[in-house]
Structure formats: C-alpha cells, structure tokens
C-alpha cells in the first residue's frame, strides 16, 4: 500500500509558482512516508502536481509512480491493490503492450480503454487519482467500502487531495481548524458519517464513488452501493447450496489476497471470522502462514486462549503481542496522530502495537476478518434490533422485553430488574419503521457525552443535530427496507469505512507500513450475503450461522461455536489513576481542556473524579473520557504547523514533466 497526494496548478504556471508548488508537494509526500517508506516520488506538470509514497508489494522494480502513459500523458498515482489485475491485463493486451507486472499499469490501461467506468471492473482496495491532460480533468476514485482513505479540499486557488488529511494540512494550502460538526457527529454516531474529516474544509471522498474535477467544477458520483433490498433475497436457496457457494467465494477471495511478491500473514483475533480465514489461508499456502494476535494483560479483554488453540490446531507460525493497561494510554497520542480523529474507544491502540510487531517480524501484508460481522449479522446490535422488532409488535409483552436479559446478561440493570431493562430498551418502540429504529438506544446513550461540551461549542453548533443531518442524507428507500437491512446500512455508513476500516484499520496498519487485506469485504461476498435470507445469517439469537457452517471442522469446535466477543480495550484504567500516562495528566487538566475549548474543563474534572472513584464506570462516561482525551490530542497535534526537516523534504524525488 502507499500514500498519494496532489493538487491542481494553472496550466501556464510560472517558474515561481512551480517552485512554490514543489515545496508544497514535498511537504505533502513527506508527511505520508509512513504509508510508503520504499520510495518517495513526485511530478510537476502542466495543470497538476502529483506525489506518491510507495510501499512496494507487487513488481518492486516496475511499479514506480507517478506512472505516465507516454502517448497520452495520462498520469496516475495509486494507493492499494487491484486483486484481479492479472485477468484484467489479459483482457486489455489486445490493444496494448504492458511494460510492467504492476496493477498500477493495469489501472492506466483500463482507464485509457474504458474511461473512469473501469472502476466497476476492479476487485480490490484502492484510492487513486488520474490526471488526463487531453481534457484537463482530474479523476479521483475510491473502492466500494472505502478500505483505503482519500481526502480532498477545495480552496480558492487549488484543489488538493491526499491519502490522509495531515498531508493536506502539511501542504500549507489549507488552514488547520477543527470541524465542530465532525466532533458533534462523532459524539453521537461514533464517527463522522457524512463525509467530513475532523478539519474544516477537508472532506473524505465517499466509499464507492468517483470524483471528476474539470474547469474548477467538482462532481461526485456513486458507482457502487450495498444493495440490501428485499427483492434481491433468494428465499428458495437451500442452506447447503448457499454454504457451498460462500465457501467457493471465500476461497477465491483469500486466493486473490494471498498474491504478492512479499509474504502475506494474517491477524488472528481468536474469533470465528479471522480463525476461518487463517484456516483457509494456511490450507492454500500448504502451511507456513504467519499469524499475529494481540493479547491483553487484563483478563476482561483477553482472548489468548482461543487464539492459541486456533494457532495450534492449524499449525501456523504464531506470534502474540501482549498489551498492558498503561500502554494503551501511552499509545493514544500516536493513535490520534495516525487516525487524525476524535474517538470514543481506545480499541485502536492495541492494533497499533500489533502492526508494529508485524513490521518487526518483516511482514508487509496481513489478512484480517473485518466485514464478516457487517455482512453476516454478527454484532449484538443486530440481535438487539431483532428483539426490539419482535417486541414492538406486542409492546405490552413482558416476555419479549425480557429477552434483553439473555442478550446483555452482564448489564447491571438486567440482573436486578427486568422492568427497568425493558424501559431502557423500549426507547422508540412505538416507531418501528423509523429510519434509526435499530440505532436509537446506541445514539441515545452516546448523546450523554455531549453534556461535557463547553457552552461556546454548543452555542456555535446552533441547534444542529447530527442524527437528523445524517438521516436526511440517507437514500429515501431506507425507510421501506426491513429493520435488519436498515440496521446493516446504518452500521456500514456510520462505522465500517469511517471507523473500523480507517481509525481501527488502515491507519493503525499503515502507521507501521503494514497493508491489511479483507477477504470478507470482497464485493462478490457482500453481494452474495445480500441475497441470503436473514435466517441464514441470524437464526434466533445465534449469529453468522452460515459462516459457522464453513468453520465447522476447520477451526477448533470451541471457536466455531463461540458467541461473538466484542473487541474492546481498557479506558479508565489506561488513562486515569496510577497508570495514567504523563500526557494525560497535562491534557486532561481543567485548564488544558478550557484552553482547547471543545469541552468544559470543570465538568470533565468532575467526570474524572467520578470515574476514578467508581469500580463500575458507565459506558457513556468512559466514552466521554476518550472523546475528551482524543480531542485534546487532536488539537495539540494538528492546530499548529509542524516543522519538517529539510533533510526529510530532500528525500522526495521531484521530476518535471
């Protein structure tokens, strides 16, 4: 994987303008070097400046970028992988001879032959920019699920884009200011869900879309969307045949993702999905798969026993990294540096440590199980939706509401009072067709975090409500979809690309120059899952039925039958008390919080006292603490200009074309 960057230039730019552009471009590429330490290259030509930080995985010798077609001058910078590039190359060789084995050249060739519609043929994870000098058009494209990031900003003089917002800020072309709407969205929806970054004027290109910039006009169109319409469901498909089809698809998705000129390893969480992927990968490689796990010294979060039993059964070359509570706190500044986000959970921190271990072991690519829970209904949220839907038909039923005690046996209230629990989960029960029916409880709960915002921040929002804003941007068809499909769409739009694949995925991997690959998010599998009746995914309160079928006999029985274990990391224990990192003592002080101005220092002080004195912290209080800590770190890191040493800047090779 790699990092890309660039901006528009006047076609007839003077020497001075070009010289200035070179400085901007060097700064941008340098700030992305963690994404691609193997080569830093850039080109300045009429109309455009393009830069690339390369992590060489395929055709290390031939795949240099920016890559230009000599006949037309069309130039591409590309971050990612086109897994079906061999097939595509064969279909394109009739009109073209290829110079390299790289997928970059396949993108260039496909674009020249078919135009930007070629993205629909790509099976992969990608973000790329193509500049076409023939019509002075800049194209940007992003893969279907937004596995790889791509940000852009329209200033009065330039259109700027990059793999990470920090590169746009480093260019000096955009003033760094926190986007208060993005913060407000995060405090409710867990991540910005409407294309915002955390910085004013910098936006994220939506997953599955293409942007065209011509004559200063930007237009964005969607080329792929997850379609969960009822009409697509094949109710007649027998379970055994569905399982066979899924098996064939998953084998192919893994096969494509094991292709590389460097070794491919795998993350092993100890859950169903990653264990199944490891089993398939180990089988296809004929042994020798490297697996990597993170274990927690705190038993509440630890899955080591499951991880080790899978590794033993499969015979993988297994490595475990253990993380202490205190390290989670120590790592949080680096998490925010790479994620460029305010967050509500510390769960990315252990993954930052894990990708470091992968890098130290000399591995550049790992498979991960991301996406299976979204496509095959693995999360508790889907069960919660199902119970609430069942209960909404008979709201007076005591037995229906009491099902929550089975779903969340660990909630204090469910142990002590089924009546209170029903009251808690009964929010919005009278509106089962509301677009946000599935997420009402989650968003009511996270709404509690906003109580810690400063008066001035709330006043500046002027009554703007993130949930209303988000719901108004959803396709109108969503309200007619069945509740589980609605829940899946909301989950995909709020969390998958904006948080799980980025903050907890790409960013934590690329921080240590490691590429993640996600077989369950092969779009053929997503489209196949959308055709299956819900019961094959969630039967009663048993999740991922069809994935379990595949896992049977391939992974240890205790893993194949295991209930989904939510991946979490310590919060209060990591940020407060005797383990508190030095930065937290400074940044979580009342004065420091009031200085940044997003949260209210006095209220946060009380929150901290409360969290430090209670053994059973509430979920919303812990999320609030992470929100405050990460916002403080975000402001400190990004609101002032960063010095980059001239020596670093000189490492970028700039060509004029």
């Amino acid at each position: 994987m790699c990092g890309i960057a660039g901006f528009t230039l006047p076609r007839d730019a003077t020497v001075d303008v070009k010289a200035e552009a070179e400085v901007h471009l060097r700064r941008m590429v340098t700030s992305l070097r963690h994404r691609g330490p193997d080569a830093l290259d850039a080109v300045i030509q009429a109309g455009i400046a393009l830069g690339h930080a390369r992590l060489a995985i395929l055709d290390p010798a031939g795949g240099a970028q920016p890559m230009r077609d000599d006949t037309t001058g069309v130039t591409v910078v590309f971050n990612g992988e086109i897994f079906n590039h061999d097939d595509l190359r064969r279909s394109l060789t009739a009109n073209r001879s290829f110079r390299t084995r790289s997928d970059t050249e396949v993108i260039l060739a496909a674009f020249l032959e078919r135009g930007i519609e070629c993205v629909s043929e790509f099976n992969g994870q990608f973000a790329f920019a193509i500049f076409d000098p023939r019509d002075l058009t800049l194209w940007l494209a992003r893969d279907r699920f937004g596995k790889l990031p791509l940000f852009y900003s329209e200033t009065s003089e330039r259109f700027v884009f990059a793999s990470e917002a920090k590169a746009i800020l480093a260019s000096g072309l955009v003033q760094p200011r926190l986007d208060r709407h993005a913060i407000a969205e995060t405090l409710r929806l867990w991540a910005p869900a409407t294309g915002r970054s955390f910085f004013d004027g910098i936006r994220s290109l939506p997953p599955g879309s293409v942007a065209r910039l011509r004559d200063g006009d930007l237009s964005i169109h969607t080329y792929w969307e997850l379609d969960l319409a009822d009409e697509r469901i094949d109710h007649g498909i027998p379970f055994n045949r569905a399982a066979d089809e899924l098996e064939a698809l998953l084998y192919d998705a893994v096969r494509l993702r094991l292709r590389a000129d460097v070794p491919v390893g795998a993350y092993l969480s100890g859950g169903l999905d990653s264990s199944l992927l490891c089993a398939i990968a180990q089988e296809q490689l004929g042994g020798g798969l490297q697996t990597y796990s993170v274990a927690f010294s705190h038993p509440r979060y630890d899955e080591r026993g499951f991880q080790e039993s899978v590794a033993r059964t499969l015979g993988t070359d297994h490595r475990t990294t253990t993380i202490e509570n205190a390290e989670v706190g120590t790592l949080l500044p680096a998490v925010v540096e790479h994620a460029e986000s305010a967050i509500l959970r510390t769960a990315p921190a252990p993954l930052l440590k894990l990708s470091h271990a992968v890098r130290v072991a000399g591995t550049k690519v790992v498979l991960t199980g991301e996406g299976a829970d979204e496509m095959f209904l693995g999360y508790d949220l889907f069960k919660e939706t199902k119970i609430r839907q069942f209960w909404a038909r008979q709201p007076e039923s005591r037995a229906r509401g009491a099902l929550f005690g089975r779903l969340y046996p660990y909630l204090a209230v469910s142990k002590q009072s089924p009546q209170l629990m029903r009251q808690f989960f009964g929010v919005g029960l009278d509106q089962p067709s509301a677009a946000d029916f599935s997420h009402r409880i989650r968003w009511t709960n996270s709404g509690r975090i906003s109580r810690f915002l400063s008066r001035s921040f709330v006043d500046a929002l002027d009554g703007w409500d993130p949930v209303t804003a988000f719901l108004s941007e959803l396709p109108s068809a969503i309200t007619s979809a069945r509740p589980l499909a609605r829940a899946q769409l909301l989950e995909a739009r709020t969390l998958l690309s904006q948080y799980l694949l980025s903050t907890q995925g790409d960013r934590m991997l690329m921080a240590n120059s490691v590429e993640g690959r996600f077989p369950f998010l092969d779009h053929r599998i997503a489209e196949f899952a959308a055709r299956l009746p819900d019961w094959m995914k969630l039967r009663g309160l048993r999740e991922k039925l069809i994935v379990r079928r595949l896992a049977k006999g391939r992974v240890p029985p205790q893993v194949a039958t295991r209930t989904k274990f939510p991946y979490r990391a310590p919060i209060a224990e990591a940020l407060l008390g005797p383990c508190a990192p030095a930065w937290a003592k400074v940044e979580l002080s009342r004065d420091a919080i009031d200085d940044v101005g997003v949260f209210d220092g006095t209220r946060v002080e009380k929150l901290i006292e409360r969290l430090a004195s209670t053994p059973a912290a509430s979920d919303a209080d812990e999320m609030a603490l992470v929100a405050v800590a990460s916002t403080q770190l975000l402001a400190r890191r990004f609101l002032c200009e960063r010095e980059i040493s001239p020596l670093e800047l000189e490492k970028v090779q700039v060509r004029a074309a």
């Binding site: 909630l411 209230v413 002590q416 009072s417 009251q423 808690f424 709960n445 979920d619």
Partner: protein
C-alpha cells in the same frame, strides 16, 4: 431540602444534566443509563435510609423524578 430538590441535584450533578422535567423518563430520554440506575438506587438507600427490594426496581418507582419522590414518601411513611 425536599426530596424532590435533593434527588434533582443528585441527578444533575451525577449525570451532568442541566435541565429536565419532573415527569421525564430517566431511561427513555437518556438522562440516566442502565449503570446509572443502580447508582440512583444506592443514593436513595443511603440518603433516605430506606431498603429497596428487587421487586421494587420498577419504572413506576424509579423512572422519573416524580416517580422517585412518590416512592420515597411512601417508603418513609411505611417505615414511620
């Protein structure tokens, strides 16, 4: 202080809510979450010297300021 103003200030200070009506459902409006409910119960027992039985942990007794006040008065009357 009356029960109402004591309970109100406990809820305000503990759960950081500025303003709520006497009849607002704590759980359905998100004023208190499921963990917080147990804190409220512990506060009532401590402050008003009452014992709350499991079968009394119901919305009619606990899920709004008005409900809590009625419940506490009744418990006190029973004890007296």
């Amino acid at each position: 202080m009356t029960h109402a103003s004591e309970v109100r200030s406990f809820v305000s200070e503990t759960f950081f809510v500025d303003d709520f009506a006497d009849d607002d459902s704590f759980l359905q409006t998100g004023i208190i979450d499921s963990t917080g409910m147990m804190e409220l119960v512990a506060f009532l027992e401590r402050r008003f010297g009452i014992k709350i039985a499991d079968e009394e942990l119901v919305p009619e007794n606990l899920d709004s300021l008005a409900n809590v006040c009625r419940f506490v008065s009744r418990k006190n009357a029973q004890a007296a």
